[in-house]
Amino acid sequence: MSIRAPLVMLAGAMATGLAGYALAEPMAADFIDRLETQSAAAIAEAGGTGVTARFASATGSLSRHPLLSGGEDLDESVRTRVAREVYDIPGVGGVTWSDGTVRAESDEPTYQPLHCQEDVEGLLRTRSIRFEEGSSALLPSSRKLLNEVADALRPCLGSIIAITGHTDKAGTEPGNLALSMERARVVRQALIERGIPRDGLRASGVGSSQPVEGLAPSDPANRRIEFSVIRTEPLRPTPVDTPGAR
């Protein structure tokens, strides 16, 4: 390729840019006039007494991104409403307040709550993870159940999953404590083998100190493993053009 082709392309790009400028300049005044009229009406309707919208960039050129000023003594909710009303006018870009941050965060959560905890509890309501008596070896039937538990926990990766082992009152408490801890560790290891990341899993044992509500501490049904999904703080969505109070 000769040097001519890139030069022609560059010249074309410059001509296109100039054409953009030449097209925008004559219609800008009318367009911005219309936005100014509409925004003044919208501000008045939203109760934003004293608020003015300036449709110009820092250099003074006409812009469709208004800078709202005034109304410092207004209630935050009124300011939010004013900003939203102005933002809703077709043609208006991002709204900024002269006395505040560029954009406010949306107050609507955009994440869906996960139901891992409920799913796992549902699985363990009728069945439980069982061990050989006095040992931390899993019974074969529990392996299948653990597969299902791992599947139910998978959507909550990123959360902390606490695995707590419990025993009944039989035996000595130090022994029970050690056994419950060992059982929780075995379950943790089994979940790691099923693809749940090691980092999010916490195993602990409480012995017989927390029997099932309504059951005698000596009841064998107290031998169990409990899961709690501790949700970590969800990531805040990046605010994009979401007008707020300031």
């Binding site: 790009a13 800008a28 367009f31 050129s61």
Partner: protein, 34 residues
């Protein structure tokens, strides 16, 4: 951002996209024939 700048940037982007698509469709083919 000035209004003219937004329009000019949009048009230059469209111009660049047009050049890119044109090159992908025909330019590459011409080079192979050379």
């Amino acid at each position: 951002m000035p209004l003219w700048f937004e329009l000019a940037a949009l048009m230059i982007a469209a111009y660049g996209a047009g050049i890119g698509i044109g090159w992908a469709l025909w330019g590459r083919h011409d080079q192979q024939e050379d």
